[in-house]
């Protein structure tokens, strides 16, 4: 049986221009795998960012199905924390 690919959109709302990636994934893909592909196309450091959806950060080990992300969803790629300070 063929498992249908679904299309997701990943927005990067950092900088004056929004970056947008369209990506076709399988429901069994993990967000870690999705993130890897998106980071490569935006040329950003994988270790500093996370995928976010619906106001939640998506765990890298979770699959697309487990994260409740459906066809046509818009995710965001953002740094997963922002730190200021001396020590």
């Amino acid at each position: 049986m063929m498992v249908k690919e679904m299309r997701l959109y990943v927005e990067v709302p950092i900088g004056p221009t929004t970056g947008l990636a369209e990506i076709d994934v399988l429901p069994s893909h993990t967000f870690g795998e999705v993130k890897q592909q998106v980071c490569a196309s935006f040329d950003v450091d994988l270790a500093t960012v996370a995928l976010m959806y619906g106001g939640m950060m998506l765990d890298d080990s979770m699959t697309v199905t487990q994260g409740g992300v459906s066809e046509g969803s818009r995710l965001a790629l953002m740094p997963y924390n922002i730190i200021g300070g001396i020590y």
């Binding site: 947008l20 976010m52 965001a76 953002m78």
Partner: protein, 431 residues
């Protein structure tokens, strides 16, 4: 370098936030945009925050808050994009610490147009910073490159529109150079290869035709230029070329970016051109010489045939301080002394004196029990130059010193205006 236009309301909000917790650091995002007609002006229109973990010398915006803000932007509840971040340094002064630099780099990897706004609510000072991504040195954005606009006012002052017109306003669009490390706008990975393949195909076809045309008639402008490879920080750079064409030259344009590559938003200048000897020249003003500069020259003849040089990189002089031992975290006990050597490492022809001054008023307030001095002068500042590039810093911990972590800041100020900050952490622990 680019200009920043910030609304009065943003500065008021940031000040209010910082003053609401004057003994702790606070943090938030700056929201803004750019306008097509002024692609060198970053407009900051809002400041937002949410739940953060604030301490005296540290503040963190956790993933939960970031995820909510991301959702608000994507769903349009927040208008604009993240164009920077702000945080407070209560009583500490304006600079970017190592942590701040790491955060700025994390954001600036997405776009060069990201600013860090630092506010000291106790001294009523604010400053914008950006980062040289190669050296990871923070660059304060000069006051005359910052405009503050009131509600209802045009965020872009008219003189900024004329000062550095975008390339598209001169002679046709600049050549498309895939910028490294930049967000491919609306270029998804899945279609990326198709785009690259078509670009290569287009390039081959174009070069074939160009080649054929060139064989038939030598009508393309010839540009002779000796590349500039290095220059001094804060000093104007003169760019010369000799341009000839049998149809006559219409214009010679210099495109440049204060960056290690030409970004899609480069600056352009029409070069002065002398018809008799084909000499073209212009100057990159000293204001722009704050980091490496990528550039190329394009010539267009009266028949609208054009030619460009390849891209060149001007390494702009800079310096590093090299610490021996390498670590800037020093563990010691009361009633002991240590020394570290500090060496000036000039980069790309840097030959200016550097004054290092130490600030030890920062934290904790009882600092008198640790004394930092430079060996030769015994003062809390010293000069490094190419003749005396090494200096020893003495650290003396008195016997009444409390256990704890002591932060010191060294400000390295070169006589040409280039500044870097270095932090020391001295950990005192009784055995």
């Amino acid at each position: 370098m680019f200009y920043v236009s910030v609304s009065k309301e943003v500065l008021r909000k940031v000040e209010q936030h910082a003053k609401s917790r004057p003994e702790e650091e606070v943090l938030g995002f700056l929201i803004g945009r750019m306008e097509d007609q002024a692609p060198n002006v970053l407009i900051v229109e809002d400041a937002i925050s949410g739940e953060t973990i604030s301490e005296r010398y540290r503040v963190t915006m956790p993933k939960e808050t970031i995820a909510k803000i991301a959702d608000d932007i994507i769903t349009g509840r927040i208008k604009g994009n993240v164009v920077g971040w702000y945080h407070s340094h209560p009583g500490l002064g304006l600079f970017l610490s190592d942590y701040d630099i790491a955060t700025q780099a994390k954001l600036q990897q997405f776009s060069p147009y990201i600013v860090a706004l630092v506010i000291d609510p106790k001294r009523d000072e604010v400053s914008f910073f950006t980062l040289n991504m190669r050296t990871k040195a923070s660059i304060p954005i000069r006051d005359d490159n910052v405009h503050i606009f009131s509600p209802g006012e045009d965020p872009i002052p008219s003189e900024w529109l004329t000062r550095a017109p975008p390339p598209s306003m001169i002679e046709g669009p600049p050549p498309i150079v895939p910028p490294e490390g930049r967000i491919p706008e609306k270029a998804p990975k899945t279609q990326f290869y198709i785009i690259i393949v078509s670009l290569i195909a287009a390039l081959i076809i174009t070069s074939l035709f160009t080649g054929l045309y060139f064989l038939r008639s030598p009508a393309i402008p010839a540009i002779s230029h000796s590349p500039i490879t290095s220059s001094m920080y804060g000093r104007p750079i003169e760019v010369n070329a000799t341009v000839t064409d049998k149809d006559g030259i219409k214009s010679v344009i210099l495109y440049f970016s204060v960056s290690s590559y030409i970004s899609t938003i480069s600056k352009s200048k029409i070069m002065d051109y002398n018809i008799t000897d084909g000499f073209a020249n212009t100057t990159i003003e000293k204001e722009y010489v704050t980091g490496d500069i990528a550039y190329y020259i394009k010539a267009i003849d009266k028949e609208n045939f054009e030619n460009s040089t390849e891209q060149y990189l001007i390494r702009v002089s800079d310096f590093d301080l090299v610490f021996d031992p390498e670590t800037k975290t020093i563990e010691t006990q009361p009633r002991s002394s240590k020394s570290i050597s500090i060496a000036l490492n000039p980069l790309y022809g840097f030959d200016t004196n550097v004054e290092i001054s130490l600030y030890h008023r920062i934290w904790p307030l009882d600092y008198d029990s640790i004394v930092l001095t430079f060996q030769s002068t015994g003062e809390n500042s010293t000069n490094l130059s190419s003749e005396t590039p090494v200096e020893t810093l003495n650290i003396e911990v008195k016997d009444d010193c409390e256990d704890g972590e002591y932060v010191f800041i060294a400000r390295a100020h070169a006589s040409n205006g280039l500044e870097h900050y270095y932090e020391f952490l001295i950990i005192v622990r009784k055995e």
